[in-house]
Each structure stands twice: as structure tokens, then as C-alpha cells.
């Protein structure tokens, strides 16, 4: 697209806003791009782009997968333009591009990697025309923003350019069907002993065949609808995988079958969810032309950022805070499942209420009936403390999950939750918190540690 006077003005103002933000020590990862797009709505289409662009989207795991790809590329000496520092909306991508371009709109990078918010697809893909579009998975998410998977699927699929190469999760019967006429590469995780042959979660967003709408069956399921599906009615099956991975958690390796070769990489996570993210990264990096040796060597230095998890210990009791993205039933179910698998006698504090959103309207509680609170009904979870104004709703949900009433304590004031811990036989305390309660969880963690030390 031609660089019009309007575009050049928007670029100038956007760059000035970026510089000013930096001088004021602000993050400036969104506003400059927002400004530029407001001044020139097709700004993203007019600014020069790197020779190769990779976009990563999906409901869960896109940030982690992006970080892994970027870490490996950086370690291998690539200078990658990216939006890691901030927003994954069109404004964030515009900011990343304008901040690294000249006043003439030229960009020096040869490669860009962008994390893309699913809902922003129509504002991003037609303008930046990615060479590769990656989708980690599609699940139901915040119902107020994302509605349902069909809506998000159509948003992405309808706006991906026809010549974009798709890199997709073969184990997701929903996202594997994105942009069906585009060139595509699939990755998957092969059957494992820990898999299930039928639903173990409340929700499965792919219970019906995307072709004929009859009930799908699964050769194996990892979690929710992630697994190998087939339709007994029409013959639909999960696609054949170009990168079929098999993790060995004991050995700390992951073997990826690609063509006739078996490639072995260090496994940098101990969860199946992040293993999918690592396989996503491997597929992308291989398609970008990196060798297994380069990737393997870099993975040995990469660490999955565990900003969502923090552990402290005192008097033999481990006190763990863990982000549990409220209103995202899949994310919460995964965290509950993680807690249920941890050995030892446990107490759990739930800080899942939406304190921030709550000031604007009543807290929506429908999501909790999609989340598997049943995982918290375990003999070694001795006590559950529920915080927030809606604690009676959470209590009801736990009762419906089969948790005994004598294990549940409601504490509306989350600042006082730690005072109600029993700490008699307890070996682990989990504080599962909403994004907005990160500070409150950290404060509670420290107070529990203090209490344990003075015990």
C-alpha cells in the first residue's frame, strides 16, 4: 500500500508518542500504535513489514508458545521484531512496527513474531499478511468477550489471507479446521498412558463432528476436547500430524517424529498444557528453517516463565500462590486438576472473585458451572476457604461438586482468609487467585509464612 501523507503524519505522531512514553519511563506498548491507527485506520497495511511474519493466536498458551519461539530465535542469533513487551491487539502490533521503523516507514528487521488476540483477527491479518499463522487451540473463554468457539473460529478463519501457511494443533478438532484451503502443517502429541478414552471434564467444546454434526468419538483425550477425534458417521478424523511428539516426563525429553526422522529435544515443562506449547514452538521453528540441533541447544537454556506460580516454605509447609484465571473455565479446571495431583495434605484458599469488574456490575457466575470444581473434591484436600462477596455461590458450587460442607469456610473479606487456615496436618497451602488478586495472594502467602514461623 502507498505511503500517503496521512500515513506519514500518523507514523511521525506515533513515533513521537513512543519516544515521549519512553522518556517518561512508561511501557508505551499500546498507546502510540492506537494513536497511529486512529490517525490512519489502515496504518498497519501501509507501514513496511519484515520479510517474514509469524503470528501466534489461540485461546490458551499463545503467550507461552510465543515466548518459547522468541527465546530460541534470540538464542540462535535472530533479531526478531515482536510485541512481547505489551499489547497483542492491533495497536500493540502497530506500536512494535512503528517503534522499530525509520521516519520513512522502513523496518530493518527481517523477521517478526506477533502474539495476536483472537478477537483482533480482522484488524490485524488482512493488514500485516502473515507468512505463518499459528493457532494453539480454541476453547470457550470469557463469554462476555469471546461468546463461543464458533464465533472466534469464524473471526480467525474469515480474515486469514489465502496464502498464509497455517500451523495448527491436530489434536484440537476445532482449530485444526481453520482456513481449510490454506497450506497447513499440523503438530500433535501422540497417545500416552495417562490419556482418557472419554470425557473427564464438564465441558468438551468439540462433542459434535464439524462436518456432519453427529457425536464425535475420541481415540484418546488429553484434556477437555484436546485429543484424537473421529466421527463414526461420516469418517471425519483428526488430521495426520507432521510433527508428532511424545514427551517422556521422567527422562525430561520430548521426541518429535517429523517425516522419517525422530528428533529429540529437552522437555522444558512438566505439564501437558505447556508440552503442547513446546510442540507448537518446535513446529514453528522447524518450519522457519532451524535445525533440530539449533532448537535443542537453545531449549536447554530456556525456562518456562512461572510468573503465575510462586512457592515459599516454612516449618515444613509449602505455601503456593497460583494464578487461576477466573471466568476462563478451562484455565481454572487445569489449575484445580494440578492442585488435585499434588501429594500431601492440603488446604486451599480460593480468591476467584472479580473485585475489579465487580465495581461496575454484579459478578457473573455462570462460568463456575463449566469449571471442574470436582477436582477439589479430594480426600487429601482437607479444607477450602472461599473469599469474596460471592462466596456463597462458590460454596454451592463446591457442594454440588460433592465437597463435604464441613470442609468449606466462607470468608467474604479475602484479607482475613489466612486467619481461618487450620494448619494442623497441612503440608501444602494453595492460594488460587484471580489476576486482580495477585497482590492479595502474595500478602496472604507472607502472612501464612509468618504464622508458620511463629507457630
Amino acid at each position: 500500500m502507498k505511503k500517503t501523507l496521512r500515513f506519514r503524519f500518523a507514523l511521525f505522531i506515533g513515533k513521537a508518542a513512543y519516544r515521549t512514553g519512553k522518556l517518561l519511563k512508561m511501557n508505551a506498548s499500546h498507546f502510540p500504535g492506537r494513536l497511529a491507527i486512529n490517525l490512519c485506520p489502515d496504518f498497519l497495511g501501509r507501514i513496511d513489514k519484515p520479510e517474514k511474519i509469524v503470528c501466534v493466536t489461540g485461546t490458551n498458551g499463545k503467550t507461552t508458545a510465543c515466548n518459547m519461539i522468541l527465546d530460541v530465535l534470540s538464542d540462535c542469533g535472530y533479531d526478531v521484531l515482536n510485541n512481547r513487551a505489551g499489547s497483542n491487539l492491533n495497536a500493540g502490533i502497530a506500536t512494535a512496527l512503528l517503534s522499530h521503523s525509520t521516519l520513512g516507514g522502513k523496518v530493518k528487521h527481517k523477521l517478526a513474531l506477533f502474539e495476536v488476540d483472537e478477537r483482533s483477527s480482522k484488524l490485524i491479518y488482512p493488514f500485516i499478511h502473515p507468512d505463518f499463522a499459528v493457532c494453539t487451540n480454541l476453547f470457550r473463554d470469557s463469554l462476555q468477550r469471546n461468546a463461543h468457539t464458533e464465533y472466534i473460529f469464524n473471526l480467525i478463519s474469515d480474515h486469514i489471507p489465502k496464502d498464509t501457511h497455517m500451523i495448527l494443533n491436530a489434536d484440537d478438532a476445532i482449530s485444526s479446521g481453520l482456513a481449510p484451503d490454506n497450506k497447513r502443517t499440523y503438530y500433535s502429541i501422540a497417545h500416552m498412558e495417562t490419556d482418557h478414552d472419554e470425557d473427564i471434564n464438564i465441558i468438551n467444546d468439540a462433542r459434535i463432528c464439524p462436518k456432519c454434526y453427529h457425536l464425535l468419538k475420541y481415540n484418546y483425550l488429553k484434556y477437555h476436547h484436546i485429543g484424537n477425534a473421529y466421527c463414526p458417521n461420516c469418517g471425519f478424523t483428526s488430521p495426520e500430524s507432521d510433527y508428532a511428539a511424545l514427551p517422556d516426563f521422567d527422562a525430561g525429553t520430548i521426541t518429535v517424529k517429523h517425516g522419517d526422522a525422530d528428533e529429540t529435544y529437552p522437555l522444558i515443562t512438566d505439564s501437558i498444557f505447556n508440552t503442547y506449547n513446546q510442540v507448537t514452538a518446535i513446529a514453528v521453528l522447524r518450519e522457519l528453517g532451524l535445525s533440530p540441533e539449533e532448537i535443542s541447544s537453545s531449549f536447554a537454556k530456556v525456562k518456562v516463565l512461572e510468573t503465575r506460580y510462586s512457592s515459599k516454605e516454612a516449618n515444613g509447609v509449602e505455601v503456593i500462590t497460583h494464578l487461576s484465571k477466573g471466568f476462563n473455565p478451562i484455565a481454572c479446571s487445569c489449575v484445580f486438576e494440578f492442585v488435585s495431583r499434588q501429594p500431601g495434605e492440603k488446604e486451599v484458599i480460593l480468591m476467584l472473585g472479580d473485585i475489579y469488574g465487580h465495581s461496575h456490575s454484579p459478578e457473573i457466575v455462570t462460568w463456575m458451572y463449566d469449571a471442574d470444581f470436582e477436582y477439589l473434591n479430594q480426600p487429601d484436600i482437607n479444607h477450602l476457604i472461599i473469599c469474596g462477596e460471592r462466596c456463597e455461590d462458590y460454596k454451592l458450587r463446591l457442594l454440588l461438586a460433592g465437597v463435604s460442607e464441613d470442609k468449606i469456610t466462607c470468608v467474604p473479606d479475602e484479607a482475613k482468609a489466612h486467619e481461618y487456615l487450620r494448619l494442623d496436618k497441612t503440608e501444602k497451602v494453595f492460594i488460587l487467585h484471580q489476576v486482580y488478586a495477585t497482590t492479595a495472594a502474595a500478602v496472604a502467602q507472607n502472612k501464612i509464612i509468618d504464622r508458620l514461623i511463629s507457630k
Binding site: 470457550r140 463469554l143 462476555q144 468477550r145 461468546a147 463461543h148 468457539t149 464458533e150 464465533y151 464438564i202 465441558i203 462433542r207 459434535i208 454434526y213 453427529h214 457425536l215 473455565p329 456490575s361 454484579p362 457473573i364 457466575v365 455462570t366 462460568w367 463456575m368 458451572y369 463449566d370 462477596e389 460471592r390 456463597e392 455461590d393 460454596k395 454451592l396 457442594l399 454440588l400
Partner: protein
């Protein structure tokens, strides 16, 4: 009495976008001796060959609405008969729209529906509506959340479910929520409508012939309901 109660859930494999299935999940706890039937898309509904006490269907995607219209159209007369006989129907979210005349897309194309109510729905796929509502049905307060792409239009003044005191009815300009005929109740409220409204659960159980109905976890669900009513009324006053 309870052992003769039959509750059918239509298309649970997809009509459950927002925790809707916990409506019948909760009824199972309240009526442990009842018979609960799940009917999938290509199966003949149980209500076709037997009288059931209640039919439930939850929210679904737009494409799935079209599948359901196609699936239920052959049984239109039977559904009419059951409604006339007083069978309970509870339709949450956009399931309600299937019983109106048609659903109109943004390009003005139409999907003909069952036509049991003289209303129609319009989709606004780039304008999601999120809200909460509080209203009055008989002597009880009903409440819930809405999250939808479509609204219904037409005159429902003689067939509304309940009058809204906070929020909107079947469209942003209406204060008459949902559709009702005999014991057919349709509401745009999503998810676990019954769990949010325990008094209405008791009402339904009474309609099913249960004397002095007792709710599962009655104290907790009542406390949660009372707390939510207070909260909704507080926001109303803002």
C-alpha cells in the same frame, strides 16, 4: 410422585454454552428419584412418544440454532400439544428464539423457526450484549445474566415471562423478559438460571406435582440468592 417425573434435556452435546446443563444437574439433586433423559441431535426426542414433565434446552451457537430448528420442525405439532397440556418447557439463552417466527441475520436473510410465538429475533454479530436483569414473576424476584448477539422483537405483552425492574427484556427497548405460554418459559438469561433462582425451582417442582418441595443445599442456595438480589438491587440504585 417424584419417581414419575421425567425431565428431558435437548441437545446437551452443544446446547450448553454457559454452564446451562447445571440447570438439570441441580434438578437431579432436588429430585433424585426423577428420570433424566439426554437427547442428542439426531435422536427422536423422548417427548414425541411419551408425556414428559419438563423439557430443557440451553444456549447454543448461531449455526447450532439452525440445526435445532431443522431437528425440531417435524415435532412442531407435538410441542404445541405439550405446551397446551401444561408440560414445562424451560429454554435459556438463545434457545428461546427457536420458538419464535424467524431469526434474521445482518444481511437480512432469515431462518424460519417453529412459529409458536409471534416474535422474531435479529442477530447483531459485532455488537455483543452483556447485562444483568432483575424482575418480578408472581411473588418472586427473578434475576440473571445476559450475554448474546441477538434480541427478539414483536409484541410479547400477552406472552412474556416476567417484568423486568432492572435491565432489559427481550430487546433493549423492552421491559418484558422472555416468552411464556402455560408452562413454557423462555428467557435470554444464560447459564444456571435455576441455580440463580431457587424460588423458581420450588415453583417448578410444585408444577411437577411435588408437595412441599425441598431444595438441595437449601440454606446455601437461598443465602446465595438473597445476597445476589441485594447486590442487583444495589446496582439498580446506582
Amino acid at each position: 410422585m417424584a419417581d414419575s417425573i421425567i425431565i428431558e434435556t435437548l441437545y446437551p452435546e452443544f446446547a450448553n454454552l454457559f454452564g446451562d446443563l447445571m440447570n438439570t444437574g441441580y434438578l437431579k439433586k432436588c429430585i433424585p428419584d426423577g428420570t433424566f433423559i439426554d437427547t442428542n441431535l439426531f435422536d427422536e426426542p423422548a417427548f414425541v412418544s411419551q408425556d414428559v414433565s419438563m423439557v430443557f434446552m440451553g444456549a447454543m451457537s448461531e449455526k447450532q440454532q439452525e440445526l435445532v430448528v431443522h431437528a425440531l420442525t417435524p415435532y412442531r405439532e407435538r410441542i404445541t400439544e405439550l405446551i397446551d397440556k401444561g408440560c414445562i418447557f424451560l429454554m435459556t439463552g438463545n434457545a428461546m428464539e427457536i420458538f419464535g417466527n424467524y431469526i434474521e441475520n445482518e444481511d437480512e436473510s432469515r431462518i424460519d423457526c417453529l412459529g409458536l410465538f409471534d416474535t422474531y429475533a435479529r442477530r447483531f454479530m459485532f455488537k455483543r450484549h452483556n447485562s444483568y436483569i432483575l424482575g418480578e414473576f408472581q411473588d418472586m424476584k427473578l434475576l440473571g445474566f445476559k450475554s448474546q448477539f441477538s434480541h427478539s422483537y414483536g409484541d410479547n405483552s400477552d406472552c412474556y415471562f416476567y417484568k423486568v425492574t432492572t435491565g432489559c427484556g427481550i430487546n433493549p427497548d423492552s421491559d418484558l423478559e422472555g416468552l411464556r405460554k402455560n408452562n413454557f418459559y423462555g428467557t435470554y438469561t444464560i447459564g444456571p438460571f435455576l441455580i440463580s433462582n431457587p424460588l423458581f425451582v420450588k415453583y417448578l417442582m410444585t408444577l411437577m406435582g411435588i408437595e412441599n418441595p425441598e431444595l438441595a443445599f437449601e440454606d446455601t442456595i437461598t443465602n446465595a440468592y438473597n445476597s445476589r438480589v441485594r447486590q442487583f438491587e444495589t446496582f439498580k440504585s446506582h
